[in-house]
Symmetry: C2
Subunit: 491 residues, 2 copies
């Protein structure tokens, strides 16, 4: 056994523990009786402790140093050693006390945020945000960064990304995004918003969701769909990927697009190489790439004409009152643009504006230019400037998202990176004419195969931007997303 | 910190791991995608290894020896130290190789049994049963026993029980059980068996089950009911007790009695002291006591007249076609006796005969008096002698139960012990006239309170037979169960 083999064995043991924690987490979101929450927290804390201990242990370091001293020639192994080193250094440079403080601050922060949002009272959350911000700064200082502390946080979600590059990318398209959104909203005013309202029985929605998810390639032998309040997708180990959605019986598209979105995430996880499970080469590379897959299937596939030429007859079979809505009207309705205060309810045309606002605010907080107490005012001013109308209250403003309360500063940029990457990957795939013509005939298998080969299979062996370059010929370029939005909303 | 405190801390850490394994096990039975089974086995094997390692570790032994050398005066602590020693000795006297062999034999055995039962072909399972029997004998020799190897296996399920005592108890009532069964079946022939057939929508069955489980005291803040093929109840930690059931839309009583049975198990688990969680004093004492609680709520409560005087109007509300069936006819139908080949489909009057048959066969196997190859013949002869008609095939005979395939020799007696204990505890509780009169008015809370105080709260601080003596004034005595059966089936 080489030192590299030892390292892989330890990493696979770590994966047994982390996937076990993932099962406990999934169960907590979907099944856990309310009174059992505190004990579940104790189980998860114990597992986290074990994972941290193993991944910072002397045997781990010995295997890592041994592998570095005598590196295998295989490029996958080399990439794994690079990633193992990165994660080891980040895990060991934080003192245990800080890790525990951060964990406690996140638990308390989430609870306070929930209450603050419910009462729309920012003052309940403000002291927690102070603490979380202070912790984020201290973590960033220990992790180190090239240009600004935000780099160190972004690194948690987007390996190798530099804040200045991401911001330059966003800045370069902000004006176009705003003008497309504005015109799309204006044009959409003529589209009625109640055309699809009716009664859509739960069981029939589930049937349609299942048939569609299966047909686009989500493997139900290795996954399932459950119902929750806040939908997500989680990967619990090889052959175990679980989607969740929620249902509204007065219309069927929100659960369906939710399932398409989460199935996009799920098919990425199902596309990772089983032989590499537990190693970086078997791990998803970044949230910005993960989100590209969910947005691809939700928007580029799921809101396209070929998709609905294939599926609208089936929907009409299950929901006979749709027969009175033509396919054209249906397509116009599901691609209607509208300004909303709430990010998660936003359409494609306006979504990115929500992200740009958040990224700007969290960077200013982190640099100390914006005080926590001034966040609501800054949010409301930015919102009105971007969207043209005021936020009614903080629950619909700076308190709407859970991310900061969990200590997740640096997470938001990955949503828009996902949108940009989705359009770019979609265009790259369709340069192969067989993929384009299959797509036009609602055969999405060749598109999935391309994504599996170019996006899923590499795991974390490449940095996200290197993966984009290898798959599409260029790093993330907003031109594709802008062109897509124009074609869809301003034809 | 005393050595005893150290021991409790280690035991609570062990409980974090074992409850985590229990969550994974529950998920496997209820949710796991088929392709994920092998990885789940790896996760569970790793957790088992960790648990075994911790519970046989040097720190554990040191704390145990320290606690024994300087025992706390508190009787609960003394009982815990006694149980810790017992479990430590049993865990450490088996070589690791044997533990692994047993685990593998059980996995392979279950798979082979499934196939053998499906094809009704004993020869597929026979070599596995040889291996499992050999392993059981080797384990029994290492664990040690007072009179016969079966004692050492029974100890896994029924702490402190001696086979000769259990068999003497069963022998003393076998003739009466057989004659009650025979007369009950004869009398039941005049009761039609199709009176309740109809359409019972799933959702309405779930409503009724939930209302009833809640009303008898199952706490849904700390538990839930799910749907599976093979119903069970599992305790995943403090405030997390999960029942399962299955549904037949042509009649509602089988899912309901299933829920009452599992809720009986569940309320025992919910009645354990949270402060003692992870310690023997917070653990259920034995399967024979556990089963007493499930049979109490399923049969003594759930098939009683007061219970249905309370609930039949509600059932009729949910299932209007029941209105044509009188309460008297309904009660006769749910208390109809009938010989069945299958244990799990048996009624109260005939159930114990199935157990006596199994106990006799597994003792003869273990003593070497019955060869594996001769099991089907022995089973079929015993069955015909007890039930008066032949078994159609091995799938309905010696292949029907999973227990032996998991290595669970010694488990079966606990089912009949549960029946005997249920009747005896029920009688003891009703000696308090307030409990009897509340029961007659379908108020079962005082009965539950009595069970909590006398059966649940002690945990494993008493041996099962000492608990029975303390709660009822005598050790397990079949007279109560026989009297109950006579009153119910031969009034």
């Amino acid at each position: 056994m080489s030192a590299y083999d030892d390292l892989c064995t330890l990493a696979r043991e770590r994966a047994l523990l982390s996937t076990t924690a993932a099962v406990l987490g999934w169960d907590q979101e979907t099944c856990l009786p309310p009174a059992a929450v505190p004990y579940r927290a104790a189980q998860l804390a114990h597992l986290s402790g074990q994972i941290h201990q193993l991944a910072t242990s002397a045997p781990w370091l010995k295997a890592l140093e041994g592998a570095e001293a005598d590196p295998p020639t295989d490029p996958t192994a080399a990439a794994n050693i690079r990633e193992f080193r990165h994660h080891f250094d980040r895990a060991t440079c934080l003192p245990r006390k800080l890790v525990e403080e951060a964990s406690t601050a996140s638990s308390l922060g989430k609870a306070a945020w929930g209450e603050a949002r419910e009462r729309s009272d920012f003052s309940i959350f403000a002291p927690h945000l102070e603490t979380l911000l202070d912790l984020a700064r201290r973590q960033a200082d220990l992790w180190g960064y090239a240009e600004e502390p935000y780099d160190a946080l972004l690194e948690n979600y987007e390996r190798g990304a530099r804040t200045s590059d991401v911001v330059r990318t966003f800045d370069s398209c902000q004006e176009d995004l705003a003008s497309i959104a504005s015109e799309a909203v204006e044009r959409s005013k003529s589209i009625p918003n109640d055309l699809l309202l009716g009664h859509y029985p739960l069981a029939d929605q589930q049937t349609l969701n299942q048939e569609i998810a299966e047909s686009i390639g989500f493997d139900f032998e290795a996954g399932r769909i459950d119902t929750v309040t806040h939908p997500f997708c989680t990967h619990l180990g090889p052959h175990d990927t679980r989607l969740t959605t929620r249902y509204d019986q007065t219309e069927f598209t929100s659960s369906l697009f939710g399932v398409l979105h989460e199935a996009g995430h799920g098919m990425y996880d199902q596309g990772l190489r089983e032989s590499e499970h537990g190693l970086p080469s078997g791990d998803a590379v970044s949230l910005g790439i993960h989100e590209s897959q969910s947005r691809l299937w939700e928007n580029h596939v799921g809101r396209s004409r070929p998709f609905w030429e294939r599926w609208y007859p089936r929907a009409t079979e299950l929901f006979p009152h749709l027969a009175k809505v033509s396919l054209d009207d249906f397509l116009r309705t599901i691609n209607r643009a509208n300004y909303s205060c709430i990010r998660v309810e936003s359409d494609e045309a306006t979504y990115d504006l929500h992200i740009l606002l958040r990224v700007d605010i969290e960077r200013r907080m982190l640099r100390g230019e914006l005080q926590v107490a001034d966040v609501p005012k800054a949010w409301n001013e930015s919102f009105e400037a971007l969207f043209g109308f005021p936020v009614p209250d903080d629950a619909h403003g700076c308190l709407q998202d859970i991310h900061w309360s969990m200590g997740g500063l640096g997470y938001f940029p990955t949503y828009s990176l996902g949108n940009l990457n989705a359009a770019q990957l979609f265009n790259a795939a369709r340069r192969e004419t067989s993929i384009q013509s299959a797509f036009d005939n609602a055969d999405f298998q060749p598109l999935l195969t391309w994504m599996q080969q170019n996006v899923h299979t590499p795991g974390s062996t490449l940095f996200p931007q290197d993966l984009m370059k290898q798959a599409t010929g260029e790093t993330t370029n907003p031109a594709h997303h802008l062109a897509h939005l124009r074609e869809r909303f301003l034809p």
